[in-house]
Symmetry: C2
C-alpha cells in the first residue's frame, strides 16, 4: 500500500479529517508501523493525491488530517479486453491492470473459457473492487477503472466492440498470430503506432478461428507475441508494458 | 504444457522411444486427453524440439516414439538479478523468467529482503527446477536457465556483478530512479540501446541508497519505470517485455 485510498465516507463531516478502521487501520499500524505525527501518502477515490498526518492511532482506529495536493498519474490510453480466466489468475490480472493504469477492462466469454468460471465469487462486485483498490494503492493512483462483463461473445463483438474501437487501434494478441498473418508484436514500434488502443487477450489455449475472424471483421489487427507462448497473465503485463 | 520436456533418462536405451510416468503422463492423459496415435510437441532438456507419437497409453504410463526437429526459441540476451522475495511470488517470477527466455537468474540478498525468505523451501534445488521446467514447457523452450543465489550483498556486487557486466549494460530498476537521476525507462528505446543487459530489480520497498551507490560504482544505470510503482513481479515482466 504505497497510498491509502480514501472514500468520501471516510471524512468526518465538516472537517479535513478521516477516521479509518479495518484493513487500512491495520496496515498503517502493522506495515507502516506509523505513530501519531507521521505523514503518509493518501488519495481520494477518483480524486487527488495528497498526504495524511496521523493525529491519533489506537488499536481499532486511526485519525488523520488530510490535504490533497496533486493529480494521480495519467492512465495509459488502453482498453483491455480479456477472456475470463481462473479466479486466482483473474484477481492478479485485475490488480495488475489497475496498477499499470488501464482505462477500462472488459471481461468476455469465448469458446475456450470454462463456463464454471462465470460462477466464481471472483467476478462479484465486492471482490473486483477489492482487487482494483489493491492495484491502485500499489501504483498511487486513485481512479478506479470500469470493469464490464460480457457473458455472450456475439453481442460483445458485434454491438460493444465497434464502439470501443472508435478512434482506437484494436490489437488481438494470439499465439497463432504470427502464423496467421506473419505478423508479430516483437517489434516495439508495433504497439506505438496508434497510442489509443483496445488490446484483446484470449484464454489459455487462445481464441478459436471464428472469434479471430469476428475481431478482424470489426477492424482489429491480429498479432502474435513472438515465438514464446506466454501465460495470459504474462501476456497482459507484457502488452501493457509495451503500450505504456 | 505446450511442450513435454524430456530428459535423457526418459529414453528407453538404444531406441527412439520414451516412457513417461507421473506428472507428464497425467498431463498427457487428463489435459491433452490424448490417445494412441496422437502426436504431441516434445523437447529434450537443453536440446532440440520435436514431436512424440503416442504408441501406448495406460493408467500409469505413456510410451512415445520421438524425433527431434528444430532448435528451441532463442533466449533473450538478459541476465536477471532479483532480490529474494516471498516464496509464492518467487515461484511465479522463476516461471515467468524461464518462459520469457532469460539466460541466467541471480537471486541476491539486500537490506530490505526479509531474512526468513532464505529459509524457504522455494529456494531448494528441486523446487526451483520444477518452476523452471513449468516455465519452459509453457514457452516451448528446452534450455534451463542457470539460477544462482548470493546470500551476501557485498561479495555479489563487488566480485560477481563486474563479471556479469562484461559486454553488457547494467540497468537498475528502482522506484526512486526517476527522482535520483531524472531518468526513466518509460521510453521504449531506453532498453534497446545495448541489447545485452543485466537487469537488477530490488525487493518490495526498493534498494537502499548504499546499494544503489554500489551498483552505480559497478557501472550500472539507475532508472525508474515511470510514475507508477509496480510490484516486483509486474516490474520483472515489464522489463523483460521491453527487452525482448
Amino acid at each position: 500500500m504505497n497510498l491509502i485510498l480514501l472514500s468520501p465516507s471516510d471524512l468526518i463531516p465538516n472537517t479535513s479529517r478521516v477516521l479509518l478502521t479495518g484493513r487500512r487501520q491495520a496496515h498503517v499500524r502493522e506495515v507502516h508501523r506509523a505513530a501519531a505525527g507521521d505523514v503518509l501518502i493518501v488519495g481520494m477515490e477518483n480524486g487527488k493525491v495528497g498526504e495524511g498526518r496521523i493525529l491519533r492511532l489506537t488499536a481499532r482506529e486511526v485519525e488523520m488530517e488530510v490535504r490533497f495536493l496533486s493529480d494521480p498519474p495519467a492512465k495509459i490510453p488502453v482498453i483491455l479486453c480479456v477472456a475470463l480466466m481462473r479466479p486466482p489468475v483473474f484477481k492478479r490480472v485485475l490488480q495488475t491492470a489497475a496498477t499499470m493504469g488501464v482505462e477500462e477492462i472488459h471481461v468476455i466469454h469465448t469458446q475456450r473459457v470454462e463456463k464454471s468460471f462465470w460462477q466464481s465469487t471472483a467476478i462479484k462486485g465486492v471482490s473486483i473492487q477489492e482487487q482494483l483498490v489493491l492495484g491502485l494503492e500499489q501504483a498511487r493512483d486513485t481512479v478506479i477503472p470500469g470493469v464490464m462483463f460480457h457473458k455472450r461473445f456475439k453481442p460483445f463483438v458485434e454491438d460493444v466492440l465497434p464502439g470501443l474501437l472508435k478512434g482506437r487501434q484494436g490489437i488481438v494478441a494470439d499465439p497463432a498470430g504470427d502464423l496467421i498473418r506473419g505478423h508479430t508484436l516483437n517489434s516495439k514500434d508495433e504497439l506505438s503506432v496508434c497510442p489509443r488502443k483496445v488490446l484483446l487477450v484470449g484464454p489459455e489455449g487462445g481464441f478459436i478461428p471464428h472469434e479471430i475472424t469476428k475481431f478482424r471483421d470489426a477492424g482489429c489487427r491480429v498479432a502474435g507475441l513472438g515465438p514464446r507462448i506466454l501465460r495470459v497473465e504474462t501476456a497482459v503485463t507484457s502488452l501493457l508494458a509495451r503500450s505504456a
